[in-house]
């Protein structure tokens, strides 16, 4: 990403090394294992908890409980489950809402903060970032209170803007994707704002100066200059958020408990996979759903990578 500063000393040393090493042949044999010892301690974990489970999941998805290859039968069976359609629909709506919010608000806020960097904006950044400490069950608990008009500090907004007077009204089925997206945004936005802010900081200030001299206003600088330069990071954000979005589990699970069953325990695709596996012991169908989610995640990743030219620059 950044060019290494080439001091004369280093440059000289490089040239000297090239001569001393005796040409390409020697370097090649030396390079075959260079770096491997450092990676070795990580490899067992990668294999045992990364590669093997992935292969196992794929195997489970295409075989029966007796181990026989059954093609797409598990996928059909899982797809035919009466909760499958709703679970995936919920997850898609949720992910869409969340990604839109991320792209608009996170990028917007990062740009806004960066345009007038000061102590105040540092404070704002810190405040946006704080809820990130409450990811998971903690954030859901907080929002269960925020959505209850009887105790929420936002009761005025709930009552008069949304017409919600009871907790059961707040968690009506139509609201859920938006509520979960809001919770995810509340916990996740701050971290991404910090990341994008950091990425914005790597833009050389001379470019900004030059643009300003040319008469560009704050908006133009933000949208035409800065935004394209952090495109890579926005793409990373969208890919990772898509992946985590489709994996939604904790939030609907807890709301299911808090609502005493109003919100089903198979609201999201991941929950359905969990129920199939751990309640019905239908592991193969559960694996099929997981593979479905994986394929979706991969397609999205590929699309985003190719459209934004993410990997064009050599890493």
């Amino acid at each position: 990403m950044s060019d290494t500063p080439r001091t004369p000393a280093i440059a000289q040393a490089t040239r000297k090394r090239g001569l001393r090493a005796g040409g390409l042949g020697r370097k090649r044999t030396q390079g075959n294992w260079r770096g491997l010892p450092f990676v070795l301690p990580y490899l067992p974990f990668l294999i045992v908890f990364g590669v093997l489970p992935m292969i196992y999941a794929l195997t489970l998805a295409f075989t029966s409980s007796k181990g026989k290859f059954v093609g797409l039968s598990n996928f059909n069976q899982a797809g035919g489950d009466f909760r499958f359609g709703d679970a995936f629909a919920h997850v898609f709506v949720y992910t869409a809402v969340w990604l839109v919010a991320l792209m608009i608000f996170v990028v917007g806020l990062a740009l806004m903060l960066h345009s007038r960097a000061s102590k105040a904006t540092a404070t704002f950044r810190f405040l946006y970032y704080m809820p990130g400490a409450l990811a998971g069950a903690a954030s859901v608990l907080v929002w269960l209170f925020m959505l209850d008009p009887t105790v929420s500090p936002a009761s005025f907004i709930l009552n008069h803007v949304f017409g919600i007077h009871l907790f059961v009204e707040a968690i009506a089925p139509g609201h859920l994707p938006y509520i979960f997206a809001m919770i995810a945004f509340w916990t996740g936005a701050g971290g991404w704002i910090v990341v994008l802010y950091g990425a914005l900081n790597t833009i050389p200030s001379e470019l900004e100066e030059a643009a300003r001299i040319d008469g560009a206003g704050a908006w133009t600088i933000a949208l035409r200059l800065k935004l394209p330069m952090i495109r890579k990071w926005v793409a990373y954000m969208v890919i990772l958020s898509f992946a985590t979005g489709t994996q939604l589990f904790v939030e609907p699970q807890l709301v299911n408990e808090a609502s005493l069953g109003h919100v089903p325990d198979t609201w999201s695709a991941n929950q359905l996979a969990y129920q199939l596996a751990f309640r019905y012991a239908r592991f193969n169908e559960a694996a099929a759903i997981s593979v479905d989610l994986l394929v979706i995640g991969l397609i999205a990743a590929v699309l985003i990578v190719t459209r934004t030219g993410l990997f064009k620059k050599d890493d």
């Binding site: 950044s2 290494t4 080439r6 040393a13 490089t14 001393r20 390079g31 075959n32 770096g35 491997l36 010892p37 450092f38 990676v39 990580y42 974990f45 990668l46 045992v48 990364g50 489970p53 992935m54 806020l109 007038r116 540092a122 405040l127 970032y129 704080m130 809820p131 400490a133 409450l134 990811a135 998971g136 069950a137 903690a138 608990l141 907080v142 209170f145 500090p153 009761s155 995810a184 509340w186 996740g188 936005a189 910090v194 990341v195 950091g198 990373y236 990772l240 994996q247 589990f249 904790v250 807890l254 005493l260 996979a273 592991f283 559960a286 759903i289 997981s290 989610l293 994986l294 991969l298």
Partner: protein
């Protein structure tokens, strides 16, 4: 004209600040009130410290100090796993970034793919694996999977591949340093920011992880705090008033739940506060949430 634009800019930031901060403020103030006061008084009013003590007593008495146990478990899992992650992921990132071994690209690609893989896909086979290794019921069933943190490897990889000049390393090699010496004396000291980053992300990810411990742990005594909170939620009158007959036997109401939530995030908040500087310093690093 300029003033209005600036005003709007400021206003937007303030509105968002309220959105992010007011729930936390409520959370901090909630344990200072009794349950009824949460409903009747101003949501952001301060009650009394005495109520906080009482709320803690109630919380602590739940299932004989089970709450403390949950916090201890979370600390154990997060700290042990993060220690392993630091020990394995930083060198791995270094090796992947600056090494030239065969299969380097493969390991990198596998790491990336596993990062994107949905949790449901991995938790189930991991559970079956752990079962085969007879680790179900052991704390290792949580610590070992936690110790696999591909994102940490990826962060280290990006850091080393972009911020570590190859020429410096080559110069060190010329001077006779072997691979390990190079790593120890040059790469590792320069890695302070990335170690802070990986430590932060790994600790927070482990502390907040719900799905894996939820799926593989059988007794509530082994739960980390996140799963414990869900247990508390369903076992207490506040959200499940059918139980507890009004709370005589299990006096966990909303202030106690708020206190439980607050205390559960304190360790992460501490790590957050200390790591924020490292993150903001224009360093890279994405945030994998959840």
């Amino acid at each position: 004209m300029r003033l209005t634009a600036r005003g709007l800019w400021y206003l937007t930031l303030v509105v968002f600040a309220l959105f992010f901060v007011v729930p936390i403020l409520w959370l901090v103030l909630a344990p200072t009130k009794v349950d009824n006061a949460l409903v009747t008084s101003n949501p952001l009013a301060f009650g009394s410290f005495h109520n906080v003590v009482k709320a803690w007593d109630h919380l602590d008495s739940y299932s004989s100090h089970l709450y403390r146990r949950w916090i201890e478990n979370s600390l154990l899992y997060a700290v042990s796993a993060t220690a392993i992650v630091i020990a394995t992921a930083i060198p791995a990132g270094y090796g992947l970034a600056l090494g030239t071994f065969r299969g380097r690209k493969l390991v990198l690609t596998l790491t990336l793919i596993v990062m994107i893989m949905p949790a449901a896909a991995l938790v189930l086979p991991i559970f079956l694996e752990l079962n085969a290794l007879k680790l179900i019921g052991n704390v290792l069933s949580v610590i070992l999977p936690f110790a696999f943190y591909p994102f940490g490897v990826y962060i280290a990889y990006i850091y080393y591949s972009t911020s570590m000049p190859r020429d410096v390393l080559d110069a060190a090699r010329i001077d006779g340093c072997g691979e390990w010496a190079t790593f120890r004396h040059i790469s590792l000291p320069l890695a302070k920011p990335v170690v802070a980053l990986v430590l932060f992300f790994s600790f927070v990810a482990d502390w907040n992880n719900f799905f894996l411990p939820f799926a593989v742990l059988g007794t509530s005594k082994q739960y980390p705090i996140q799963v414990g909170l869900s247990d508390l939620l369903s076992s207490t009158p506040s959200f499940n008033p059918a139980v507890g007959g009004g709370g005589q036997t299990v006096p966990i109401f909303r202030p106690e739940l708020a206190l439980a939530t607050l205390l559960a995030v304190v360790p992460v908040l501490i790590v957050f506060v200390f790591s924020q500087r490292a993150l903001v310093r224009g360093l890279l690093g994405g945030g994998v949430k959840g």
